[in-house]
């Protein structure tokens, strides 16, 4: 929780005014029993109705001041809590955006969503309650004890003992429920995962008639959550009854002791009534505190999880060198590159070396798991090499600024996704101020212009979350267009034409080849047709470079390449 305190900075005023006014209000409340004591001992004893009226008037005054204090307090506490949460959320979101692929793979998207939604909500509620009550309750309890001392030292000792016992009980319950609420929260994550997964895979689940089974799996998680909640709830349900017992036994003791004192003339009757009232106030405060603690232990568990996330250092360090190649395609060099994923035993890439000339096209072809995607993911530095290095324009990518590097590189990923918004919004993803002409030209190159124009609204046509209102092939072409709008110096197409038919694929490649300021292009594909016209084709086999060369060279020299080609085109001309 400690490291989260800094989010109160800038709201120091709120954090002080809020609790302070809450304390003032509590202070006025503590005076009330003393006023009642005066009423009994002076007013009633003397039969002075006017004095009683005066005391009642004081009570009303105290009430009005209390109301003003309390409203002030509520407002500032709410402000502090809301802006605290806003700050934490901002930083969390920023942090999450900074995490590398490897980091998010490890934590899981569902867990991250819970952190950013229900965890932070619980924390915000907790902060608000703490500011309002965390200081107030102990203050009233402590204040009641002090007030009791001003009335009678011996009776006050009973207060002290009661409060100590109560503190122990509260601490014990908190100690047990803390981990309990953490477990509940973790289980909630699992329920969330189950829901998300069922929604994402709805077609497959229904196709195989697995609805029942998925539901059963969900039910199991849900039931387990229920069991944990009930268990934890039962322990925190102990808190109130225990508090009640201790306080009332304390009151009984107080009356007994008070009786002795009155009998010997040490105390007045009004004093005993005042003491009993003070004890009653302690009870009320402690019940509030108990509820607060239940909420707080939940909030604290959430705070810890949020802190963990905020402390998570992105596993990749950004370089400091700038990249100055605007409008000029750079060369890309792989020098003896090895790469292995965290947790995987074998290298996904081993000893890959080659050089792509400025403005050239490199085709990468190979089997499933041969490392094609891994290889191109190293260029924009989505992952880091384990050894060797990747250089763009002669500079190791690890030394470059992320923004510079990724502005120069455009990637069209395997799984194409669009953001909610309009087509234009999506097209401007890589270049915020792209003009309509630039967008249209990119759409034309990507063979997407025709179907976009058919949509109602054209460039302004809406895109739903994930781009679900477009077919797979349309999405891919939009993603390609989106990459082209950026006017990148390096263009990577990671198997991004897989959902395109041959004619579109061919037209697309032709259009890219004819672009002005042609970028250095990398095309990853399963299809020989997509790479055969490249300046150089790299054939990967289980992480190794099996061969590289032009189409004609490879057809002669590389068995793997020939096999792929034959399977797709039949026998090449001129061979037997």
């Amino acid at each position: 929780m400690k490291s989260l305190l800094k989010y109160f900075k800038g709201y120091r005023k709120e954090c002080i005014i809020g609790p302070l006014f809450k304390l003032l209000e509590a202070g006025f409340e503590l005076i009330i029993p003393l006023v009642v004591k005066q009423m009994i001992d002076k007013g009633i004893a003397a039969g002075d109705v006017f004095y009683v009226l005066k005391m009642a008037g004081i009570m009303i005054m105290l009430g009005i001041i209390g109301l003003i204090c309390s409203l002030t307090a509520q407002y500032f506490c709410a402000r502090a809590a809301v802006y605290f949460a806003e700050g934490v959320k901002h930083d969390m979101f920023e942090r999450v955006m900074k995490l590398s692929y490897q980091d998010t793979d490890g934590i899981g998207v569902s867990a991250l969503i819970t952190r950013l939604t229900s965890d932070i909500n619980a924390l915000q509620g907790g902060v608000n309650m703490s500011l309002r009550l965390l200081l107030r309750s102990p203050f009233v309890v402590f204040g009641a004890v002090v007030t009791a001392f001003t009335i009678d030292v011996k009776a006050a000792c009973i207060f002290a003992v009661t409060v100590v016992i109560l503190t122990i009980i509260v601490a014990a319950v908190m100690f047990i429920t803390g981990p309990g609420y953490r477990a509940v929260q973790e289980r909630l994550d699992k329920v969330l995962l189950s829901v998300r997964s069922s929604l994402n895979g709805v077609r497959v689940i229904r196709a195989f008639g697995n609805e029942e089974r998925e539901f059963e799996a969900f039910k199991k998680e849900n039931d387990e959550l229920n069991r944990l909640q009930i268990f934890t709830g039962r322990i925190s349900a102990l808190l109130n009854p225990f508090t009640f017992i201790v306080i009332n036994l304390g009151t009984a003791w107080l009356i007994w002791d008070g009786a002795l004192a009155v009998d010997t003339g040490r105390l007045s009757r009004g004093a005993v009534v005042a003491l009993v009232n003070l004890m009653g106030q302690i009870l009320v405060e402690l019940i509030k505190l108990a509820n607060l603690i239940v909420q707080l232990s939940r909030a604290l568990a959430c705070a810890n999880r949020i802190e963990d996330l905020l402390k998570k250092e992105p596993s990749m360090k950004e370089g400091k060198t700038g990249l100055k190649i605007k409008g000029k395609a750079p060369e890309v060099i792989f020098e003896d590159v090895c790469m292995s994923y965290a947790g995987a035993g074998e290298n996904a890439l081993e000893g890959v070396s080659f050089k792509a000339d400025p403005g050239s096209t490199t085709g990468i072809i190979g089997g499933t798991g041969s490392g094609k995607s891994t290889m191109v993911n190293l260029i924009p530095r989505f992952y880091d090499v384990s050894s060797g290095c990747v250089k763009v324009d002669g500079i190791d990518v690890r030394e470059l600024k992320f923004a510079d590097l990724r502005e120069a590189v455009a990637v069209v990923p395997q799984k194409s996704v669009l953001f909610e918004g309009t087509i234009k919004d999506n097209m401007r993803l890589g270049k915020e101020d792209a003009s309509d002409e630039e967008i249209i030209s990119a759409l034309k190159t990507a063979q997407a212009y025709d179907f976009v124009m058919e949509k109602e609204g054209g460039l302004e046509a809406p895109v739903t979350q994930g781009g679900d209102n477009f077919s797979g092939g349309q999405r891919q072409r939009l993603c390609i267009a989106r990459a082209l709008v950026k006017k990148p110096e390096i263009l990577i197409m990671d198997d991004s034409a897989s959902a395109l038919d041959y004619a579109t694929d061919a037209a697309l490649r032709k259009a890219i080849g004819e672009m002005k300021d042609a970028p250095t292009v990398f095309i990853v594909s399963q299809r020989a047709a997509s790479v055969m016209h490249a300046d150089r084709i790299i054939v990967l086999d289980e992480g190794h470079m099996a061969a590289s060369g032009t189409h004609d060279e490879l057809l002669k020299s590389c068995d793997i390449y020939r096999e792929i080609y034959v399977s797709q085109f039949g026998r090449p001309e001129g061979s037997d």
């Binding site: 009330i32 009642v36 009423m39 109705v49 009683v52 209390g66 109301l67 901002h90 955006m97 998010t104 969503i113 939604t117 229900s118 909500n121 909630l188 329920v191 189950s194 829901v195 997964s197 069922s198 994402n200 077609r203 497959v204 196709a207 008639g209 039910k219 039931d223 009930i230 009854p241 009151t251 009984a252 009356i255 007994w256 009786a259 010997t264 009757r269 009004g270 009232n277 995987a344 089997g367 499933t368 798991g369 989505f382 992320f402 990923p413 395997q414 996704v417 909610e420 993803l429 994930g466 797979g472 349309q474 891919q476 897989s498 038919d501 041959y502 004619a503 061919a506 399963q526 085109f569």
Partner: protein
């Protein structure tokens, strides 16, 4: 409270019915514990009246009162523990049931609903809303009954002590109520607004996190953050209003209570001076006047909390109430289909504004292999959606062995059709779990056999835990090709009489694919198969090629015939060698 929220509340109460035993115990305990708690001030007051001064104490009576106090305290504690425990059980179980129903309902919702609603939004309803609702409900149940009983009990006890002063209390307290309901009415709107903005935020978070790769590729982080911040700021101001408005209730009602307290103190003291009242009774009365008004506070607290809970509950019920897929209870079960598919004058569109498929006619004999080709966006995926009954045609029929598919139970229709889609889906769990989706209860041998046929066995064996390797959400560390191989294995295991392969092999390298093609070949033998593939070499062997464009089938026939016809298909075919 509006009419709608009343309805929602009644529905929530219906959900608690299976746990009415807990509800009853909870109510009974609430009564007991409140009554017992009410006795304490009387006892205290009696004790105070025994303190008459130096040497005047009646010790025997005091001892009796002390014993009674201890007994009452212990009894009250036990009752309140039982009440809380029952409430927990009641609330958490109700919430579990609602979540369960919502999930069950999601299983019955038509694809058109699920395609329209972002997953993130539905998740937010199922998780965050239900959670908020649980908090409100728990607080509501715990406090509502105690409050009501306490009010009633206090009232009775006060009247027995002094009807006149009771009148003072009773006349003043409604003020507290009015204030509370006045505030609550205004607060509700803010909570609803807050709930909406928060839903939007969840959607943004969900979108940005699930599409992390695109975000990174376009260095979109900064703008994602800007978008988030914009919403976050809005949420802050909405939340501030909601929180502050709702937190007005307590201080305001407390103020009214303090006024009541002062009035009682004055009226009581005056009565004592006139000799109509004792100091002990005044003490008891003073604590009653706080006890009497406190439940009003609590009720109003509960009301705000409940209002928030109801806003959340409404969103959940909205999901649960979304119209289900048309029922197919009356539809027939089919066992193993022959595989004759006749599509007659079928039209379909996702939205009324734009026609997609129009007057489609296809005749497929059992065991025929149909290749569907055409430019992207021509309606191939839609055709599959219709064959699988993910959507139903607007007009016309799809007949399977002569029966319209709308007359066949979805589950039995789908059991007869195996499907591998372009978007691979793996559920979190082990690889085994995923493969067994194809056939529950298949033996180890069957599974391995299927994996070998689909050429996934060797790579699965190399994983750290083999078939028991746990894969994360969306396949985690597996490559796209490996994911697809697992999806194919699933189908190999199911081996239904008909197949749909939607660009199933687009991410698998050609060498592996050649082996899979062989396996597919033997699997497709004698099975009606629809293949959406872009590899013309595989399409060549099809019994019939459907060439689609703009939602219509513009050509159909065998490869050679279509080439001779020299139409769209032949242009498509030639373009393979064009560049």
């Amino acid at each position: 409270m509006t009419k709608d929220s009343k309805k929602t509340l009644i529905r929530v109460l219906k959900y608690t019915m299976p746990y009415r035993a807990f509800l009853i115990v909870s109510i009974v305990m609430a009564v007991f514990q409140s009554v017992l708690a009410l006795l304490l001030p009387v006892l205290t007051g009696d004790a105070v009246d025994l303190l008459l001064g130096r040497g005047l104490t009646d010790w025997d009576s005091l001892k009796v009162i002390m014993t009674e106090m201890i007994m009452v305290t212990l009894g009250q504690a036990v009752c309140s523990f039982l009440m809380n425990t029952c409430n927990n059980h009641l609330t958490y179980s109700t919430v579990r049931d609602i979540r369960k129903d919502a999930m069950k309902h999601i299983g019955k919702l038509p694809l058109s609903y699920l395609d329209r609603h972002p997953a993130g939004e539905l998740v937010s309803r199922m998780i965050a809303d239900v959670d908020q609702f649980a908090d409100g409900l728990l607080m509501g149940f715990t406090q509502f009954f105690t409050a009501v009983v306490t009010i009633a009990g206090t009232l009775i006890l006060m009247i027995t002590i002094s009807p006149l002063i009771t009148a003072v209390v009773v006349l003043l307290t409604p003020l507290s109520f009015t204030v509370a309901s006045f505030i609550a009415k205004r607060t509700y709107r803010y909570f609803k607004e807050q709930s909406e903005v928060r839903g939007k935020q969840t959607a943004i978070i969900n979108e940005m996190l699930s599409q992390e790769k695109t975000v990174k590729a376009f260095a979109y982080e900064k703008r994602a953050l800007e978008r988030f911040d914009e919403n976050n700021k809005k949420l802050s101001s909405v939340s501030l209003q909601a929180i502050f408005a709702s937190s007005l209730t307590n201080p305001s009602t407390r103020f009214v209570n303090n006024m009541v307290y002062a009035a009682v103190a004055f009226a009581g003291s005056a009565a004592v001076i006139r000799g109509r009242f004792t100091v002990g009774k005044l003490t008891a009365f003073l604590s009653y006047s706080t006890q009497y008004t406190k439940p009003f506070n609590e009720i109003s607290g509960v009301v705000t909390e409940l209002q928030n809970a109801i806003a959340c509950a409404e969103r959940i019920f909205e999901l649960i109430d979304a119209p289900e897929e048309t029922s197919d209870n009356d539809a027939m079960e089919i066992d193993t289909a022959e595989g004759a598919v006749n599509i007659e004058h079928m039209s379909f569109s996702y939205s009324k504004e734009k026609k997609l498929l129009e007057d489609v006619n296809i005749n497929v004999k059992p065991g025929e292999h149909i290749a569907i080709v055409g430019p992207t966006g021509c309606g191939k995926t839609t055709l599959i959606n219709l064959l699988m009954r993910f959507y139903d045609p607007d007009e016309g029929f799809i007949r399977l062995d002569g029966t319209p598919t709308t007359g066949i139970k979805r589950s039995s229709l789908r059991r007869n059709i195996g499907m591998v889609l372009q978007d691979t889906y793996l559920k979190p769990g082990t690889i085994r779990d995923n493969i067994l989706m194809g056939k529950n209860g298949a033996s180890e041998e069957e599974m391995i056999e299927a994996a070998k046929k689909a050429h996934s066995h060797s790579f699965i064996k190399q994983l750290s835990d083999g078939y028991d390797t746990v894969i994360g959400e969306d396949g985690g560390m597996l490559s796209q090709g490996q994911k697809q191989l697992i999806c194919i294995t699933r189908l190999m295991l199911a081996l239904p009489p008909m197949l749909i392969l939607d660009e199933a092999t687009s991410s698998i390298d050609t060498r592996t694919e050649m082996r899979i093609q062989k396996a597919f070949g033997s699997m497709m033998e004698g099975r009606t198969s629809f293949i959406v593939a872009h590899r013309l070499s595989t399409i060549k062997e099809a019994d019939c090629i459907l060439v689609m464009k703009d939602g219509n089938i513009i050509e159909q026939g065998r490869h050679d015939d279509l080439l001779k016809h020299d139409g769209f298909y032949s242009r498509l075919y030639k373009s393979q060698f064009e560049v």
